[in-house]
Amino acid sequence: MEKKISYGKLFIEMLKISTFTFGGGFVIIGMMQKKFCDELHWVSDEEVLDMTAIAQSAPGALAVNSAIIFGYRMGGIKGVLVSTLATILPPIVIISVICNIYDAFSTNKIIQIALQVMRAGVAAVIMDVVLGMGEKVFETKDWINVCLMIAAFIASWIFKVSSITLILLFLCLGVARYFIERKRVQA
C-alpha cells in the first residue's frame, strides 16, 4: 500500500478543497474522491467508500475525520498532520476575518446571490461523483446490494434516517451475510 505521494501536493490539494468546498462533509468526500482517486490514484474507489464509512462512524466533523483517515492511508502519521492542518487552516482564517466584518458580509447582495447559485455547481459535482460510485455498485452485479443502495437512499433522503443509523445497520447486515455465506460454503 506504500504509494509515492508528495506531502507538499497533499497539503496544497487539501487546502484548496477545504477553501472552496461549500455544502458540508459529503461534498468534501466527493472532492477528495475526484482528486486523490480519479486524478492522482493515491487511493482506490473502494478505499474511498470504506474510509467514508469509518469517518462517519466516529464523532466529530465528517470533513475533519475524512481528512485524518485519508491522510493516514496516503501518508501515515505525517500525512495525517499535513492533511488535517490543511483542512482546518482555511476555516480558521476565513472565520477570523469574517467575524470582524459580519454585518457587511451577511447583508451583501452579491455574496448572497453567489452563494445561492453556487449550490447548483456543488450539486453537479456531487451528482457526478455519485453517478461514478453508483455505476461501480451496479457493475458488481450484486443485485441485493443494488436494492439495498436504493433502499438506503430512500431511507436517508425521504425518511431522514441518520447516517450513523444506516452505517450501523449495514455493518450488522455485513456481519450477518458473512456468516450466512460461510455456512453455505461449509454445507
Binding site: 472552496f20 466529530g60 470533513a63 492511508r73 449550490r119 456543488v122 438506503a152 436517508s156 433522503w157 455493518l171
Partner: protein, 188 residues
C-alpha cells in the same frame, strides 16, 4: 484560565457531536450559549448564518468564532484544537485498524456491505443540495414546480455536462458556477 475552559468545552463538542454538521449545533448551544454564556442567542444565530455562508465544518467554524471572541487568535486556535482532538485520536485508531485488518475476510465483507450505504448517503446529501439550489427548499413535500429557478437549472446542467464529458476539475466548476451564475443574475 479562559484558555483551558475554551479547550475543554470544545473537547466535549468534538467528542460528542456524532453525525457531523447540524448535529453539533444543539451541543454548541447548550455548552457555549446556555452553559458558559460566551455567546448570546443573537450571536449564535449569526454564527449559524456564517457557518452556512462559508466553507468548513460548523463545529470548526464555531470554534474559531467563539475562540476569537473570547481570547483572540490564540483562543481560536485552542478551541479548534480541542474540537478536533477527539477525532484525531479515535479516527487514527480506526485508520490503523483498517490498514491492519482490511485483508481479513470478515472485514472485507462488512466494509463491502457498507459501500452501498455510503453511496446512498452521498447521493442523499447531493439531492438535498440540488433541491435547495433549484427550488430554495430541500424538503421534498414543499417543492412547487413553479418555484424552479431557471438560472440555477442551466448552471447545474452545464456544470454536470462539463464534469461528465469534459472531466472538468470540481473546484473550477464550483468557482465557475458562482461567477457565471452571479453575472447572469445581475444581467437578467
Amino acid at each position: 484560565m479562559i484558555y483551558l475552559q475554551l479547550f475543554f468545552v470544545y473537547l466535549q463538542i468534538g467528542a460528542f457531536a456524532f453525525g457531523g454538521g447540524y448535529a453539533a449545533m444543539p451541543l454548541i448551544q447548550s455548552l457555549v450559549v446556555e452553559g458558559k454564556g460566551w455567546l448570546t442567542m443573537a450571536e449564535f444565530a449569526d454564527l449559524t448564518t456564517i457557518a452556512e455562508m462559508t466553507p468548513g465544518p460548523i463545529a470548526v467554524n464555531s470554534a474559531t468564532f467563539v475562540g476569537q471572541k473570547m481570547a483572540g487568535l490564540p483562543g481560536a486556535v485552542i478551541c479548534t484544537l480541542g474540537c478536533i482532538l477527539p477525532s484525531l485520536i479515535i479516527v487514527l485508531i480506526l485508520a490503523y485498524l483498517y490498514t491492519k485488518f482490511s485483508n481479513l475476510d470478515i472485514v472485507k465483507k462488512v466494509l463491502g456491505q457498507m459501500r452501498p450505504a455510503v453511496v446512498a448517503m452521498i447521493a442523499s446529501a447531493g439531492m438535498g443540495i440540488l433541491l435547495m439550489g433549484l427550488f430554495g427548499t430541500s424538503v421534498f413535500a414543499k417543492i412547487q414546480f413553479s418555484s424552479l429557478r431557471l438560472i440555477e437549472l442551466c448552471v447545474f446542467i452545464v456544470c454536470f455536462i462539463l464534469l461528465r464529458c469534459k472531466k472538468a476539475g470540481p473546484i473550477q466548476i464550483i468557482f465557475l458556477s458562482a461567477v457565471v451564475g452571479t453575472i447572469l443574475y445581475c444581467v437578467l
